[in-house]
């Protein structure tokens, strides 16, 4: 696993932590409220914050996917560059071999 994949995984974990913090918020609020009047007064606000937390968890998961995609691109780009490097090396070796052959031929002709 690349370091970038580790970051994507970390973001996924943070998304889970946000979702769990949201559940904790709803539970803590329910346990903090004893009268129905107060519960009614706070319900809308708690719901809104819960929705915001869940939206943020989704956003973190999206960010994780973006990083994951970026990681894939980087891996692909690195592979492509490695391939090019190999081709270049091959070309250099081949060219050197060809040059040696040509030199050898030239030397042979010279002796004749």
């Amino acid at each position: 696993m690349s370091d970038l994949d580790a970051i994507a995984q970390e973001l996924d974990q943070r998304a889970m932590q946000v979702a769990s913090a949201s559940a904790q918020l709803v539970r803590a609020a329910a346990e903090a409220l004893w009268t129905s009047t107060a519960a009614d007064a706070f319900r809308a606000r708690i719901d809104r914050r819960d929705v915001e937390c869940l939206r943020l968890a989704a956003e973190l998961r999206r960010a994780a996917r973006t990083v994951s995609h970026y990681s894939d691109e980087v891996i692909a780009e690195k592979a492509r560059l490695r391939r090019l490097e190999r081709d270049a090396e091959h070309l250099v070796v081949q060219t050197a071999g060809d040059a040696a052959k040509v030199a050898h031929m030239v030397a042979s002709w010279a002796r004749l």
């Binding site: 690349s2 370091d3 970038l4 580790a6 970051i7 970390e10 973001l11 943070r14 932590q17 946000v18 913090a21 904790q24 918020l25 803590a28 609020a29 329910a30 346990e31 903090a32 409220l33 004893w34 009268t35 129905s36 009047t37 107060a38 519960a39 706070f42 606000r45 914050r49 915001e52 937390c53 939206r55 943020l56 956003e59 973190l60 999206r62 960010a63 973006t66 990083v67 995609h69 970026y70 691109e73 980087v74 780009e77 690195k78 560059l81």
Partner: protein, 437 residues
């Protein structure tokens, strides 16, 4: 909503403020952690391979962490909610609750003193005494919510201040720093005595309908002219006999021949075995409560402290009987615990304006509660220490919780169901410091 006006319990706002504050802290911490990821080395060094992808990833992480709708911003909004609620509560506590009327009455009296004293000195002095007494009555309720920090800062005894600052049970008195146990040794030593009372309440053969009604029974015993406790035997539809023990609070400030006096209350707070607890044991024996039977102990003020002392004593709770639930109202029991390994649950009802609930100088929890030890705090200041501490005020407040949405309270109520129906016999006992001659 109560009649035509809305009842706002500022303790509710205080609790919600604590909930928002904690959530804000969590969100901000998570947000900063995520923002750190945006600045990570791997994202930056790999940008050379895919600059567009890198900037997309950075932007996505930063938006979730520190964007206008990100984690840090959400944390900030929650922190603002918390601060606004705290400000509202502090305004209520410091400004709205201030006994201004009583203070103005005293000020008016002082301003008019030269004139009124010249006309009628006796009446002026009586009137002044009345106004000062009203101010003196109003001050404890006003200062009660701040009792712990005030005592931690200003109690003369450094040992007491240290105990309070560390949140541990106070071991010495606040003024001279003398050990509490030595102050109450005499009350500790009473063997206790009980006899069947001539008092027959009208609830003798009725199960209580609710916790509020249990407290009404405590109030009924407190209103009787003599020290009493009651043991109710309730046989439910399952045929099992369970017992409700009703423990009234302090009756006299002066030393008396019964354990429901100031020394007895101080002994109960400082220790665990007192004349009162021995009276309860004797009453259970006299009422022929079988060994190992399940009981609920309900008490007000000193009665609540005694209930916790008994629940914390392994020879009683888990020995003589099994205490299923303690219901304490207006009792300073925050520092007391049930016997280890017992499944006893504690439901503690406290008015923050009731100075008695602060006498253990340990702040009761407002968050992270459990059904095992559940504290319900509310704020009602009657501007009179006696009325603010009255058990009837506590039972009225519990009645307001009849339709409470609180899940922990629902569980307490559900577990109490076997005590709320069935056939009932009640024995009321007179209690004394010494056995009957």
């Amino acid at each position: 909503m109560s009649g035509s006006h809305i009842v706002v319990d500022y303790e509710e706002l205080q609790r919600m403020s604590a909930v928002w504050a904690e959530a804000a802290h969590t969100m901000a911490r998570l947000g900063l952690g995520v923002a750190e990821l945006a600045a990570s080395h791997e994202l930056v060094v790999n940008a050379v391979f895919d600059p567009v992808g890198a900037s997309r990833a950075e932007a996505a992480i930063l938006a979730a962490a520190v964007g206008p709708a990100g984690l840090v911003a959400l944390g900030a909004r929650m922190a603002t909610d918390s601060l606004l609620l705290t400000a509202l509560v502090e305004k209520e506590r410091l400004v709205d609750n201030f006994p201004l009327r009583q203070l103005m009455d005293v000020e008016k009296w002082c301003a008019m003193l030269p004139v009124t004293f010249a006309i009628d000195p006796r009446r002026t002095m009586v009137d002044g005494g009345r106004r000062f007494a009203a101010l003196g009555d109003a001050l404890p309720g006003y200062l009660s919510p701040f009792a712990e920090p005030l005592l931690a800062a200003f109690a003369p005894s450094p040992v007491f201040r240290r105990d309070v600052a560390l949140g541990r049970p106070v071991s010495v008195d606040p003024v001279l720093g003398l050990p509490m146990r030595s102050l109450v040794a005499s009350s500790d030593a009473h063997p206790g005595g009980v006899s069947i009372s001539r008092y027959s309440p009208d609830w003798t053969d009725k199960p209580p309908a609710s916790m509020a009604e249990m407290l009404d029974r405590v109030a009924d015993l407190e209103n009787f002219d003599g020290a009493l406790i009651a043991v109710q035997r309730i046989v439910g539809s399952d045929g099992v006999a369970r017992f409700l023990v009703v423990l009234p609070g302090l009756r006299h400030f002066a030393p008396s021949r019964d354990p429901q006096d100031l020394l007895g209350a101080a002994a109960a707070e400082a220790g665990t075995a007192t004349g009162y607890t021995r009276c309860v044991r004797l009453a259970l024996d006299a009422a022929r409560v079988p060994s190992g039977a399940e009981v609920v102990l309900t008490g007000h003020s000193q009665g609540g402290i005694v209930a916790m002392d008994l629940a914390g004593d392994p020879s009683f709770n888990g020995g003589r009987v099994r205490v299923a639930q303690v219901i304490a109202a207006g009792s300073p029991i925050s520092s007391k615990a049930v016997a280890p390994g017992t499944p006893t649950r504690v439901f503690n009802v406290e008015s923050v304006n009731d100075i008695v609930t602060h006498l253990d100088v340990v702040e009761s929890p407002t968050a992270h509660q459990s059904v095992e030890k559940l504290t319900y705090r509310f704020a009602i200041d009657e501007h009179d220490p006696g009325r603010t501490h009255d058990v009837s005020l506590y039972s009225r407040q519990l009645r307001r919780l009849a339709d409470s949405p609180n899940p922990l309270l629902s569980r307490v109520n559900a577990d109490l169901q076997p005590y709320l129906s069935g056939s009932v016999t009640t024995t009321v006992f007179d209690v004394r410091d010494e056995p009957a001659p």
